[in-house]
């Protein structure tokens, strides 16, 4: 797993540096829109090229090798040392290609989507900053550097969610995202601290990935569990798992390309990546892995149920993202790290596609996001329709599409490691996924357009700068899964083999190919069932959903209210905290402490008032006191 050949290189720093340069240019030339729209996607494109070149180098090297670029010593204090260093191994290679590739497409798309926004340069500045942070995260050879990217992407998320800051909800959503992420980061930091001290050896404390991998055996079992669970908290914050998922749906307040890039394809997968990167720690604690798996499965199911009834097109996709991230975490929990990354990749393709498609719809609908106002867009927006269909099929797990292979692999591993209950949850969730995605598809593109006439009149297909990325992503959503076929099919799980030097081979168990095929069949049937049900509900018999909602009113309201988790947090955490703060300020600070201080002052003052009568201004009275003093002194000399 560790070891392997190290290929020193000095070009990796260019990959994050390029978007950073783009950011600086966007700041300097902020008033020249055209230049920014060329530079910002341009630098990301170049970064993609550099990343591709690095990956090619890696592919030529023997398996298990890694490129390392040690840029400069960053924090050196006593026995602790953290360098700004980058690495490209198989894991980072996959991530860096996803980030730069999908990122580039979304940059291009944004040029069209944001064309009419006066703050376009600011948008691209943020977007480039995000690319910088995300690349730092995936390329980091040191966990402290990884943390820089980790918080950096959180910052960009904050800024981009609140991009249209003039609306209070947006600013509040941004803050919520940052704060919830910070709670996760807190776990992450504590995990890192514990990890750092527990793997200290040979007079050195280090959070270099290689150092951690090498000394992970120093972890006592309980320590490993503690570290792993703390890291899981971090991952739950970033990757929107229970119970820290609440920020992601709100994050949809940002511009749609942001939702696609940050809140679907890249940033939210950082938690998955981090666990995969540190899988050796998790492997040291079977208990923690079990927890990971349960959290993942629970999140997948939980979010999918909420997605069933949402009417905002982006909210549906947001909950679907949470659900899909749950699948990935489930994969991590059953030890299928490569599979999780595989799903990260396919998900990046089809979810970016879906979000961009949704953005295209919103763009065409003059900003309308409510699916109850849409319908029948098939004819008016044909490219969007076809690509959206591809995305829906991919996420629903239609055979041959990208999502089919990755989701299948997750379920197979879950079954294969003996987690039958979790498998059932996963398979059921897959059915739900198909249902709500097709529901979305039907509501948006089938039937009659339900919008107001003036909006309906303006509905149009998006410009090529937006549709070309859609088409490319659609293509990837079809073929992207073919790199990881089940064992025995053609070239088999090439993707897993590529990652194996980093993540290790995950045991599929002894069930063999037959079982996997059977599982695949079950999941596909469930998905088909979900899709069919959606067809019945929303195309054939549109009255049925209302009837059902009326019949199952409590359940329906629970789902529409998103289980009232936000309200719960508000009542249990936010309000008590504000009340406590006020109490501390007004009672403890102002009354008790300052009261004591002022009380001392008042006592002194009162005392002074008393003595003031002695100080009556009559010099002769003072002189008498003086005389008394002299007499006292003399008496002392006399008596002595």
């Amino acid at each position: 797993m560790h070891g392997g050949e190290i290929i020193p290189t000095s070009t990796l720093w260019l990959i994050p540096a390029l978007p950073l340069a783009g950011l600086l240019l966007a700041i300097v030339f902020g008033d020249r829109k055209r230049l920014v729209t060329i530079v910002a996607p341009g630098v990301v494109g170049i970064a993609f090229a550099v990343a591709l070149a690095s990956v090619v180098t890696l592919l030529r090297a023997p398996a298990g090798a890694r490129l390392v670029d040690d840029v400069y010593p960053w924090i050196v204090a006593g026995p602790f040392r953290a360098d700004v260093a980058f690495r490209v191994d198989a894991l980072a290679a996959v991530m860096v290609l996803i980030v730069t590739g999908v990122g580039f497409l979304i940059h291009v798309y944004s040029v069209g989507y944001m064309a009419h926004d006066e703050s376009l340069p600011r948008f691209f500045a943020y977007l480039n900053l995000f690319m910088f942070a995300m690349l730092l995260l995936v390329l980091a050879d040191n966990l402290v550097v990884l943390f820089v990217g980790w918080e950096g992407v959180g910052l960009c998320s904050y800024l981009l969610i609140g991009f249209w800051y003039e609306k209070d909800e947006n600013a509040a959503a941004g803050k919520k995202a940052f704060v919830v992420n910070r709670i996760g980061d807190l776990g992450f930091v504590l995990g890192l601290l514990l990890l750092a001290w527990s793997t200290a050896a040979n007079g050195a404390i280090s959070l270099d990935v290689a150092h951690v991998e090498e000394h992970v055996h120093l972890l006592a079992p309980q320590t490993a569990t503690a570290v792993a669970l703390l890291l899981l908290v971090g991952a739950a914050g970033k990757s929107a798992q229970l119970p820290l998922y609440v920020w992601l749906p709100d994050a949809m307040a940002g511009p749609t390309p942001v939702s696609a890039l940050i809140h679907a394809a890249t940033m939210v997968t950082a938690g998955i990546y981090m666990i995969a990167r540190l899988h050796v720690v998790f492997l040291a604690s079977p208990f923690a892995l079990e927890v990971v798996a349960i959290v993942g499965a629970a999140t997948a199911l939980f979010a999918a149920t909420i997605a069933l009834v949402q009417t905002d097109i982006k909210k549906v996709l947001a909950y679907s993202t949470v659900s899909q991230l749950g699948f990935m975490v489930l994969a991590l929990g059953v030890g299928a790290f490569a599979t999780a990354i595989f799903h990260v990749m396919t998900h990046a393709f089809f979810k970016a596609l879906l979000f961009l498609g949704a953005g295209s719809v919103i763009h065409g609908m003059s900003g309308e996001q409510d699916v109850s106002q849409m319908g029948g867009l098939r004819e008016k927006m044909p490219i969007t329709w076809w690509t959206f269909l591809v995305g829906t099929l991919a996420i629903a797990g239609a055979p041959g599409f990208a999502g089919f292979f990755s989701k299948d692999e997750i379920l197979a591993h879950t079954w294969g490691t003996g987690h039958y209950a979790l498998w059932a949850v996963g398979a059921f969730t897959a059915g739900l996924t198909a249902f709500y995605m097709f529901r979305l598809l039907f509501l948006t593109f089938f039937g009659e357009l339900r919008a107001a006439p003036e909006i309906a009149h303006h509905v149009h297909e998006s410009p090529p700068v937006m549709t070309v990325p859609l088409v490319i992503l659609a293509a990837l959503s079809i073929v992207g899964g073919w790199v990881g076929l089940p064992e025995g099919w053609l070239w088999g799980p090439a993707f897993g083999r590529f990652l194996a030097p980093v993540t290790g081979h995950s045991a599929l168990g002894e069930h063999g190919a037959g079982v996997e095929t059977a599982l695949m069949l079950v999941a596909t049937l469930l998905a088909a069932g979900g899709a069919t049900l959606a067809y019945v509900f929303y195309v054939r018999m549109p009255g049925l959903p209302y009837l059902l909602a009326w019949r199952l009113k409590p359940v329906y309201e629970l789902l529409v209210g998103k289980y009232w988790i936000d309200e719960l947090y508000d009542a249990v955490v936010v309000r008590p905290y504000v009340a406590l703060s006020n109490l501390l300020w007004r009672i403890v600070d102002q009354m008790m402490i300052d009261g004591a201080v002022n009380g001392v002052a008042t006592t002194v003052l009162a005392n002074g008032q008393l003595w003031r009568y002695v100080q009556d201004g009559n010099v002769q009275h003072y002189a008498l006191v003086f005389l008394g003093g002299a007499i006292a002194l003399l008496s002392y000399y006399l008596v002595r």
């Binding site: 400069y72 050196v76 204090a77 003039e166 609306k167 704060v179 807190l186 930091v189 300020w585």
Partner: protein
């Protein structure tokens, strides 16, 4: 030993400037402004020379100047710099010209007196950081109080008299205890030896545990008020709110560091046993300060009060790092002192900017400032992120090292303290949201002027340092490391936790 006078030049140049400023005719305030700026800038240049000539490979004091002052009492004039004080000196000389430049537009009454006090304050602060004679230190320590008292009391806001008196009496009362302790310490040390206030010799004083505890308490009280540690912090919000912008910046940026510096230079190494005995209490107070400051900061309606309480929280982190008593924690603490000086100083400057435009500091009076003030908002954003410790900016390095260091010393304290990371983000972001984001709530704010050239000239160096210190902390950490190691070794007994950890780290496993 006394071949150079650089330190004396650095310490006394501002005072010379202060006296010259007084000579400027009253009807030429611009002359006073320029003279003050020139002298503080000269001091900064001199201190850069100090850094350039600083040797990072030794823990000894450098550039030592030593001479008799009051020989009959063994009081000497000793100045010296090491890795601990070097950057605090630089912080002082860096911030003062900026504050003076900012005050060009801020102070319009009694201009030359203001700059006189400001420059005198600089001399006091530099002297306190550089003095190696306890008596000399005490003189400089008190010398700082007077100008600050006048700056708050004369150029302050509505409740300035209350605030300045509170500030003066709080600090004075506590530091008198320290004076008594100094005299006692010197008298104990003088048994069988010549009387001396030279701290380098006093480090070796043999004291009984009880004596140590009493003396440590006296020193710690004086410094804890300055830090300020919970529950001795209530002078700070009042002083900050009433002080003029420049006063707030210096107060937060440098004066508070006096407390933490005093702990590190005097209280801890002079009384190591007592330090270890008091560590649990101090850590507890530090953690309470972190969480309490953050919580109370959140509900402040006044921007300056919010920043003031955030200082309580941040300085709690510094104390946490100091009392970790290991190289990592202490280096982090020193680094955090510098960070806090920069970021909180900048926050006060930023509050001063909008206060100058709108004459209100109430958060409720703002909102949606991004639109009329984009440059202001951008600078504010960076400074705020630095304050909440965003990685890549300076605040992170300090906080991370502090947590890393204190994690080894006291896990429970670290875990609780790290909650401050979240709470810190909460109050800062909420404030930012209410001030900068959202719709323009008040018509008056629609036509505010964005940062002027002079304001940019003040803020740009601070922002630049915030970034540089976040990206490349190496020169700073390298220069302070030997001194920190020496101090830690002095404080730490042979069987203390840091040594245990070191043994484990160097262990064979």
């Amino acid at each position: 030993m006394t071949g150079n006078v650089l330190l004396s030049l650095i310490v006394w140049t501002p005072l010379v400037g202060a006296l010259l400023v007084l000579l400027v005719p009253r009807d030429q305030p611009d002359g006073a402004r320029r003279a003050a700026f020139a002298f503080s800038s000269l001091t900064f240049v001199l201190s850069l020379a100090l850094w350039a000539g600083f040797r990072a490979d030794t823990a000894d004091f450098q550039w030592i100047e030593q001479g008799a002052w009051v020989p009959s009492f063994g009081i000497q004039y000793i100045l010296g710099v090491d890795g601990v004080s070097l950057f605090l000196v630089l912080l002082t000389t860096f911030l003062t010209p900026l504050v003076i430049l900012f005050s060009f537009g801020d102070i319009t009454t009694r201009v030359k007196e203001y700059f006189f006090f400001l420059l005198m304050l600089e001399t006091g602060m530099l002297g306190a950081f550089l003095a190696l004679d306890l008596f000399l230190f005490y003189v400089f320590w008190e010398l700082m109080l007077i100008p600050m008292y006048f700056i708050i009391g004369v150029w302050g806001g509505a409740r300035r008299i209350y605030a300045s008196l509170k500030f003066l009496i709080y600090t004075l009362a506590a530091s008198l205890l320290m004076l008594v302790a100094i005299l006692y310490l010197v008298s104990v040390h003088a048994h069988g030896a010549a009387v001396t206030f030279d701290v380098r010799e006093l480090y070796g004083t043999v004291l009984s545990p009880t004596e140590q505890l009493w003396l440590f308490t006296a020193f710690a009280l004086a410094f804890a008020v300055k830090v300020p540690m919970f529950p001795l912090h209530t002078w700070l919000p009042d002083a900050h709110v009433e002080a003029p912008t420049g006063g707030s910046v210096i107060l937060a940026g440098v004066l508070l560091k006096m407390g933490t510096y005093g702990f590190l230079r005097f209280a801890m190494p002079l009384f190591p046993d007592a330090t270890r005995a008091a560590t649990p209490l101090i850590l507890a107070l530090a953690v309470v300060g972190i969480l309490y400051g953050a919580a109370v900061a959140m509900v402040q309606p006044d921007l300056k009060k919010l920043v003031a309480y955030s200082s309580v929280s941040h300085l709690g982190f510094v104390m946490l790092g100091l009392f970790a008593v290991n190289t990592i924690g202490v280096e982090g603490a020193i680094y955090q002192m510098l960070n806090h000086g920069l970021s909180t100083g900048a926050l006060f400057l930023l509050v001063g900017v909008i206060y100058g435009r709108r004459h209100t500091r109430a958060i409720a009076d703002f909102g949606g400032l991004w639109k009329p003030l984009p440059r202001y908002a951008a600078v504010f954003l960076v400074v705020m992120l630095s304050s909440i410790g965003l990685p890549g900016l300076n605040g992170f390095i300090g906080e991370f090292l502090i947590l890393l260091g204190s994690f080894a010393a006291n896990r429970a304290a670290t875990v609780f303290a790290s909650g401050g990371l979240v709470l810190g983000a909460v109050y800062m972001l909420w404030m930012f949201q209410r001030v900068i984001f959202g719709p323009l709530r008040h018509e008056e704010n629609a036509h505010l002027q964005d940062l002027t050239g002079r304001e940019i000239a003040v803020l740009a160096p601070v922002v630049a340092m915030i970034v540089v210190m976040g990206v490349y902390p190496r020169p700073f950490l390298r220069a302070m490391e030997p001194s920190v190691k020496a101090l830690v070794a002095r404080i730490e007994a042979h069987d203390g936790p840091a040594t245990r950890i070191a043994a484990r780290v160097n262990g064979q496993r």
